[in-house]
Symmetry: C2
Subunit: 212 residues, 2 copies
DNA sequence: TCGCGATGTATCGGACCGATACATCGCACG
DNA sequence: CGTGCGATGTATCGGTCCGATACATCGCGA
């Protein structure tokens, strides 16, 4: 998952670790708290070893005369390679079961603008399926095992069930929009009454050489 | 987290691993998919080594005469010890930062009927704080960095923000109820219009059978 | 009788987290 | 003037948990 996210972000521009973490936090803030350096740096090393990213020298020109003194460590800027872009395209297109759990779906969704429409639709429907199953599980417990559980546990299940129903509706909207070729705009039920006028559908992205 | 959940469940009745997993899935279904055996069994071993739980022989009487033949492995039933109950009480009362993340809060909440009211209130307020901070982070991104992000990422943030606002409202209800000493009943906005008539606040002890 | 799905215990490699360490830079405050 | 502190920045370590896999038993229907 982290691998996919890093490859996706570096496709937008080269970055160093700290920056990557901030961007990651901004982009995935809705689904996870913050990426730990304890997973970020080892992953960067792994990606570099695999040849998907490379170090880009930070201040390449003006090579200082005295390199030995006060060995400045400096920032390490990474950029994606051609192989890395291929890897990203492959990861983004193939959908396993982990594509539909909370984190996996969030990461895939965050890069939907780099995903072709057929894949987007497949992922949205897979996610809907997953949430519907979770929802059915919760309904079962509430209907069949309610007397075994205390009031707090029941309230937790109710809240979870509500969240599932809400997410299914959200996914339905997105799927409908996707089918009709519109931008991912969902009628705002939330806070401010005003709805955003997102002006244009994202040009259906780099439509890779998917078979016509 | 798993440790706390196991200790809590075994306090209700002795169980073997498979059963434990099913109960865990039922009780925590709203917050996590299913506990992996790859973490369950090692944790059981750890808890046993620490003396919090012990093996309870499954078919103690009728010791078979031929123990060497066809060495039946059989189920391993665990029960909690007195030290285990102390450990549970200690874990449930102390609140660190991990108490307020999604999983941690869910596990604590699922055992609220074994938690005293002051601790319940503290945890609910801590959780609200955490979600409010997440909400502010999302609002910041939506207000300040919207033009940097694509339509899909924005939609993800909006959906996340909506979930945060919803959860804060839910927590407000629970906190209000807690303060007034009522049972954890939240006015149902969801599917079926009927509201449950939970008759009494659960006496802070083990109040098993809830409704008659 | 044969197979198959549910029950049941167990391990292994890997992903990710939280704590920690350490170094530099700019700047506010005394 | 210095000095301390928060932001920036890279890095490691131990531990928790997951997903895949293996293997054995039991009941039941074809």
């Amino acid at each position: 998952m982290l691998e996919l996210a890093i490859l996706g972000l570096l496709q937008e521009s080269p970055m160093h670790g700290y920056e990557l973490r901030k961007e990651l936090t901004a982009k995935l803030g809705a689904i996870r708290a913050a990426i730990s350096y304890g997973s970020l740096y080892p992953t960067l090393r792994r990606l570099q070893a695999a040849g998907w990213i490379t170090e880009a020298a930070e201040t390449p020109a003006t090579a200082e005369e005295i390199p030995a003194l006060t060995s400045r460590r400096g920032r390490v800027v990474y950029k994606i390679t051609a192989e890395g872009k291929e890897r990203f395209a492959q990861l983004i297109a193939q959908a396993g079961p982990e594509t539909y759990d909370d984190t996996g779906f969030g990461v895939h969704f965050a890069f939907f603008s780099r995903t072709d429409q057929a894949t987007r639709l497949r992922i949205l429907e897979g996610r809907r399926r997953t949430i519907e199953e979770r929802r059915e599980g919760l309904r079962d417990v509430l209907a069949r095992a309610a007397e075994r559980l205390d009031a707090y546990t029941l309230e937790l299940q109710r809240h979870g069930l509500d969240a599932c129903e809400r997410e299914v509706r959200w996914l339905e909207e997105l799927i409908a929009n996707e089918r009709s070729g519109r931008a991912p705009t969902v009628p705002q039920t939330g806070t401010a009454g005003g709805r955003r006028e997102t002006d244009s559908p994202p040009p259906p992205g780099e439509s890779r050489k998917e078979r016509p």
